[in-house]
Amino acid sequence: MTSDNQMKLEADVRKVRSADQIRTYLKHVFGDTNDLVVVSIRVGPYEGLLCYLSTMTSSDFMMNNIIRPISLYRMEREEKPAAEVVEELREQYFGGLTGELLFGLDELSNRLTVGNAALFVHHAEALLILDVKSLNSRSVEEPSTQTVVRGPKEGFTESAQTNMSLIRRRLLNDKLRFERHTVGTQSGTSVYLVYIEGGIDAEVLRKARARLSRSKAAGLFDSGSLEEMLRPRTFSLFPTVYSSERPDAICALLLENKMAIIVDGSPFVLAVPAVMNDFFKSPEDHYQWFAFGTFSRLLRYVSFLFSLFIPSLYVAVSTYHQELIPTVLLTNIAAQREGVPFPAVIEIMLMEVTFEIIREAGTRMPRVVGQAISIVGALVLGQAAVEAGIVSNILVIVVALTAISGFVAPVYTFGTNVRLLKFGIIMLASIFGLYGVILSASFLLIHLVRLESFGYPYLSPFAPFIKTGQKDAFIRWPFSIPGKPSMGKGSEGGSDE
């Protein structure tokens, strides 16, 4: 298109004049896209033009809510100015749909892409914009991660509307707010900040808004990508953003004065600020008898330590500190190591990497061939490797215990990230022995103490110690309902921004 034409068009779009002008404009913006529908339609005595994107709505919806009311209007014809016709249509015929008037064309393309329809009536000088978005989405199903035995079985879906309603119906509270933002220069994905007015820390809200507006990403297809934008700049393997498929978990966090973030198109809803303790909580803790809730929570902490330190402790103790193992056990280990050709560290790395391959394959491979994994994994790599004398029996136990412990964390991302740390600790243990293990534990502790999520210390309520927070930390106190704020505010301007 020549610059002459361009200028003419730009001058044109500020005012709506004719159907032809609209047609030219749409042709210019959308080109030849197949899903653009521009149809002439008679509105009462006037010629009209209806345009929308067929991919953002359904023909059923259009028929019932737009075409039929317009045709009904034609029946009771009466001479009226066009502007009045449009007004009448908006008020009486499209009552349920939010309709607004657009006097220029420059906004039109944006409106069409988010699922609106535009109705133009000759001589009216305004476009009637109608929300006709009607998309198919998955129905509410049981979440595939964070499963519970007892508790609600509803999970978030890909539709932000559904997700918001899942939250709203649990919190019948007039202070609940959904705040819409758009992220993605190309995708224009809707992102909703969810919080309870009055409870939420204004600072958290400000930071979240700032980070969303700072984002220059072209597209956003899952909350996972957003999570990365929300994380602090300091490198950390520990997630500082909570994510869950469970509305009840998110609602509990909202009551703790945290903020949830819904990304349209992702069934995983985020919550910030997230402290370490949040990743060890399962909503089920509160639906069960407190003693068992406490037990399983302690179990999670223990298995977190297991998954981090068991392999490195094995390496350190069996290659440097044999005096720490009871004689009879050492005899057993020594007997099994007899004839294993590799040093302990190579042996354990071999098996850990093998396990990671099995895990990765199990995640990626088509469901139909899933059975092969268990056969190859358990029989060939486990049993046969021991019988062939490549690895020792005790090592298979160590690797299996580590692997199983790694999956105990209720939030999957927590377990996966921490898994990487394990390899570093094994290497340190193989070079320095127990000293290396203690060293890495100290590094880890220092790192965790320094880490902050939106200004809140990652280790609260343990460090800083907050007495009220202890009721829902290591111990799930009886009668403690979910949703009591349990974090302490950290130092101003920490590692966060």
Binding site: T331, A334, A335, R337, V340, S430, F432, G433
Partner: protein, 404 residues
């Protein structure tokens, strides 16, 4: 350079500096090493020390078992010092040694008579040797023979002896806990001389070395615990019998429980009393340099068996039995103390320690001659045994008589 890169880079460089500081050269792979599980020391030729080490054959020593070869390899070596001899062992054995799991250390009685100090020093000094390693003295046999006796349960001899000492100490009390730690303590403490458990060999050591020997129902040789060895300082004086050892241990308040056979009035008949709790109480005073030593033992026990007809349904039956048990313990204790005084003339009971702790000033005057003082002083012993119950039966079972 960019600040953002600078810090992590510096961190990395500092961390990599730690690499050469410590580490890998202490690395020991389990499949290149063997555990030393037992050490026996005896005099060698030309004033050297002969060290016999039991090294583990790990795959045979586990319960799953291997090819049926012996669970341990016993090798002797001579050296001027213990440490040198241990490190020289690879003359005849393939792998590097791990000494941290040594379970028992047996000293030959000949060696012990010359003084243990110089042999204990490397043990106490080493950070690898645990303080709870069991120390024993071989009695009437060479120390090395003790390690050469196999046992049918697939155990190597040191593990078997260790378990044996522990069980015997708990069940009958014929041997005191004689760990390295106890020995060190006894050597340092004032007013109590050390005692170490004694082992002896019953049977033919030549035949017991063979793995075939443990395939028979009755092992050809067995290591026996024969009581305690009595020391003055670090020098061996002699041995106590098992019965004497038990009484000494009772007086020292180290008894976990024992079973007494108390003679009753009728000739040749006994009542078995299981002692559960024994609380000895010492009382020592010095009067013008003349010690007055009293020992009171309170005990509680159960009746395990009675060979004569005693009516336990009545209080008098219990009282009668209690009296006999008390008399028996009193008489045994007195005899043991007397025998120790006459045979060895050293205070292994800790009467001096009692003085040292409670009447330090008075004791310090006689500390040097305490053993002699003790040997001359008659000890007044008293025992009070209380019987709690008589297991499941009150009286012996007997048939009711028929008829009016």
């Amino acid at each position: 350079m960019n600040k953002r890169i600078q810090r992590p880079l510096l961190m990395f460089l500092l961390l990599s500096l730690m690499g050469p500081i410590t580490g890998c050269w202490d690395l020991i792979e389990l499949n290149n090493t063997t555990l030393i599980t037992g050490i026996a020391m005896e005099p060698g030729h030309n004033g050297k020390i002969k060290l016999t080490l039991e090294t583990l054959n790990a795959s045979e020593a586990t319960q799953k078992g291997g090819k049926g070869t012996s669970p341990s390899v016993v090798q002797s070596i001579e050296g001027s010092t213990t440490a040198e001899a241990v490190n020289q062992l690879n003359q005849s054995i393939d792998r590097t040694m791990l000494i941290s799991h040594v379970g028992i250390i047996v000293f030959d009685e000949k060696l012990a008579r010359t003084g243990l100090s110089k042999y204990l020093d490397p043990l106490q000094r080493s950070r690898y040797i645990r303080e709870d390693v069991t120390i024993l003295i071989s009695h009437n046999t060479a120390a090395s023979n003790i390690l050469k006796v196999l046992y049918p349960r697939g155990e190597y001899s040191s593990l078997k002896i260790r378990e044996q000492v522990r069980s015997y100490e708990k069940g009958w009390g014929g041997i005191a806990a004689s760990r390295l730690f106890d020995l060190t303590q006894a050597l340092l403490v004032d007013g109590r001389e050390p005692m170490i458990g004694a082992v002896t060999l019953n049977g033919d050591p030549k035949r017991s070395e063979d793995t075939e020997s443990i395939k028979s129902l009755a092992p050809k040789a067995l290591v026996n615990l024969s009581g305690m060895a009595v020391f003055r300082g670090d020098k061996l004086l002699g041995f106590l019998t098992r019965d004497e050892s038990r009484m000494v241990i009772m007086a020292r308040n180290e008894l976990h429980g024992t079973t007494l056979s108390v003679p009753v009035e009728e000739q040749g008949k006994f009542a078995a009393i299981r002692l559960l709790r024994v609380r000895p109480k010492m009382q020592v005073t010095l009067d013008n340099g003349k010690p007055d030593i009293r020992l009171t033992v309170d005990g509680e026990g159960l009746i395990y068996s009675i060979e004569k007809k005693e009516h336990l349904g009545e209080v008098s039956g219990y009282l009668n039995l209690e009296k006999q048990a008390s008399d028996y313990v009193q008489q045994q204790l007195a005899a043991t103390i007397q025998s120790v005084q006459q045979k060895f003339g050293v205070d292994i009971f800790g009467f001096g320690e009692y003085m040292y702790r409670r009447h330090y000033k008075e004791y310090s005057l006689v500390a040097d001659e305490w053993n002699e003082l003790f040997a001359r002083t008659p000890v007044k012993v008293e025992a009070r045994i209380t019987l709690l119950r008589s297991e499941l039966k009150t009286d012996q079972l007997k048939k009711e008589e028929i008829g009016p």
